[in-house]
């Protein structure tokens, strides 16, 4: 095709996701979508500026990568530090860490579903964009907005009650935890559980009802098959905090199972692309083109054999029916799986809070530098996260590699954008609802691009259509 006949539509910035990104859609001479690219325009440089610092500082520095998933970074980081020291956390510390992780997962999933995504389901994709946000929900459905906000509050409250901070937590230290949970705080958090379960179930009912009413769209919405990566327990059960890696293929066949996260480099490789600061990771044995895999709630539920708690297990079984024994590829199902995870989170939080050891003061083992290399992983809300440190004999970092969840979803996000663009964008006459569908494809993955949050979703969207010579042929500004 002659490239001079192509036009490019830019959607920038993408609203209601965490971070800054731009989508460009290239049209051919007939106005059909030819290609779509998802750009990430920010550069952070953590891997570089953490070099030459002490490895024990990493659990403090790396939570600053993200305001939404600081606990996952802290956990992956302390695990890498514990591998360097050759120690394990105490039983109570493990309980508190699980609780902290649940806290973050809940508040992140609540933010993603109730604050960022529910406006699309409740108000409609084609509704006024100025009102299609959490404030619009607060006006139209005040009860739902309030319950969503309180669910997020519960998540953050757990973190504050343990470490004294709601975001950018501290206190997760190599060998355990720096702060214990008091009996008073344990009781306080337990009282929240029934309300949290009810709110998550409300969300599940909302998304199920949306699925029913929009069956055609949900089942055709960016359904391109990919591989999946997630953490599982010894019996293949769903796991967020500590487990082994499992890869499955498009058909659900297990490619790798019970892989220790320290072996991640044997299975994952990365490649940089010229048009984005986000790297392109892929499943190494399949190569760059065929090795596209996804992580996150959809991937975790696709790879898992079961959930660990009864209510979540019940929903999990319903979810598995959608795929008929095979992985569910529909990107839209990220929302549903996010809520099933949230349900399991609340149930596990209740179990932990009822554990007699959770308020014990035996919270830290102490160690010192013993090994040069450490690798830690955890399941961030958006997917599997790896921290890999190499140190010199004094403990100073000589190399840092951070493999972030959103990065791993990057290739498939790009693929999904192209699919949806082909389905909904026709020519340069852009309708508001169409653009939002492209954007909402990205939102399904709940990407955390730079950790600055735009929860309100009032940002203007600017769309520009360029010809092949870079000349603007059309410019649309959404207030």
């Amino acid at each position: 095709m002659d490239s001079s006949n192509k036009k490019t539509i830019y959607i920038s910035p993408v609203t209601r996701i965490e971070g800054h990104a731009k989508i460009s859609i290239q049209l051919d001479e007939n106005g059909e979508v030819y290609d779509a690219l998802f750009h990430v325009n920010e550069f952070r440089g953590f891997e570089k500026f953490c070099q030459d610092r002490m490895y024990t500082e990493m659990p403090t520095i790396t939570p600053r990568i993200c305001g939404i998933c600081p606990t996952s970074h802290s956990l992956a980081s302390v695990k890498a530090c514990e591998m360097i020291q050759g120690i394990q956390p105490t039983y109570t510390a493990n309980l508190l860490r699980r609780l902290m992780h649940i806290s973050q997962n809940l508040s992140s999933h609540a933010l993603s579903f109730f604050h960022l995504s529910s406006p699309d389901f409740l108000l409609g994709y084609d509704s006024d964009p100025a009102k299609r946000n959490i404030l619009g929900i607060a006006q139209e459905f005040p009860d739902i907005a309030l319950r969503g906000i309180r669910l997020r509050k519960f998540g953050q409250e757990i973190s504050e009650r343990i470490t004294g901070k709601k975001i950018h937590i501290m206190g997760i230290v190599p060998g355990g935890m720096a702060f214990p949970l008091t009996e008073e705080n344990r009781k306080y958090l337990l009282e929240y559980i029934p309300e949290a379960i009810a709110t998550v179930q409300l969300g599940i009912n909302m998304i199920k009802s949306f699925h029913e009413k929009n069956k055609e769209m949900v089942e055709s919405f960016a359904t391109s098959p990919t591989l999946y990566l997630g953490t599982v327990g010894p019996d293949g059960g769903h796991e967020l905090y500590d487990g082994k890696l499992r890869f499955i293929n498009e058909e659900g066949i297990i490619l790798q199972d019970q892989i220790d996260p320290s072996r991640y480099l044997e299975f994952i490789a990365e490649r940089s692309v010229s048009w984005s600061y986000l790297k392109y990771p892929y499943y190494k044995p399949y190569g760059f083109e065929k090795g596209v895999y996804r992580v996150g709630p959809l991937a975790r539920l696709n790879v898992a054999t079961r959930m660990k708690t009864p209510l979540a297990q019940k929903e999990f079984e319903e979810f598995k029916k959608i795929g008929g024994g095979k992985p569910v590829h529909g990107t839209f199902y990220y929302h549903y799986t996010r809520l099933i995870e949230a349900l399991g989170d609340v149930e596990i939080a209740e179990q932990i809070l009822n554990d007699s050891e959770v308020t014990s003061s035996h919270i830290q083992h102490h160690g010192r530098w013993n090994y040069a290399e450490g690798i830690g992983s955890s399941e961030a809300p958006r997917g599997t996260l790896f921290h890999h440190y190499k140190t010199d004999e004094t403990g100073k970092l000589v190399n840092v590699n951070l493999l972030i969840a959103t990065g791993q979803n990057n290739p498939s996000m790009n693929r999904s954008v192209l699919e949806v663009a082909k389905q909904y964008v026709k020519g340069s006459n852009i309708e508001e609802g169409m653009l939002n569908r492209v954007e909402s494809t990205i939102r399904c993955y709940d990407p955390c691009l730079s950790c600055s949050t735009h929860a309100i979703g009032n940002m203007p969207m600017e769309i520009e259509i360029f010809d092949s010579k870079g000349k603007t042929v059309k410019r649309v500004v959404r207030n």
């Binding site: 002490m54 024990t56 403090t60 950018h168 206190g171 230290v173 720096a178 102490h366 004094t394 403990g395």
Partner: protein, 235 residues
Amino acid sequence: MQNITIYIDDKKLEVESGKTILEVCRNNNIEILTMCHLEGVLDVGACRLCLVEIEGVNKLLSACTTKVAANMVIRTSTERIKRYQRITTELLFAERNHMCSVCVANGKCELQNLGYKVEMDSIRYPRLFPQCEVDTSHSWYVLDHNRCIMCTRCVRVCSEVEGAFNWSVKNRGYQVRIISDFNTPWGESTTCTSCGKCLHACPTGALWPKAIVQGQLDKKPEIIEELMAKRKMGL
């Protein structure tokens, strides 16, 4: 010692001669900001935060190194002094790489507290962002030049209290740095006794034990004074 009359902030005081303005102020509950001052070791007037106005003297003088004199009229909290304190604090932050949020001393740092005290809501001077070394060569401790404010409390504690003379200072101006022995890695020092007093003396996160992370730092600068008091008593 002879008693003399002085005036601080329009308040008449009978004080012993030979005392510094800072000592007198502290004894009379008059607040003076300090950073390089540490009870138990000699003052050097390095940080310039304790500046006071003295009637008849044009320039501001440091309270920690200026002794009281009969009929001295001193002012400790004029607008001019506050302005200078704010400027000095901002310059301390601008000179090296002070990132409180990820610092091991976050929440327990004298420099951070000073920033709050002078209501530093921004830094008006361009940050230098120097390339600073992190010396991790010691088995137990870390020296991070990024967070050093050159108060030299570590230098004085090491020489005056421990008597090891490990710490010293090299270069001048913005290139000034704390050095171990004759500018060798701390871990190779032949004079350091690994006593850890310099860690307690350090007001920031420049000196800290490897075994701890943010939230666990527990510096006790007051132990230096207690040690010196015991030494004077021959204990």
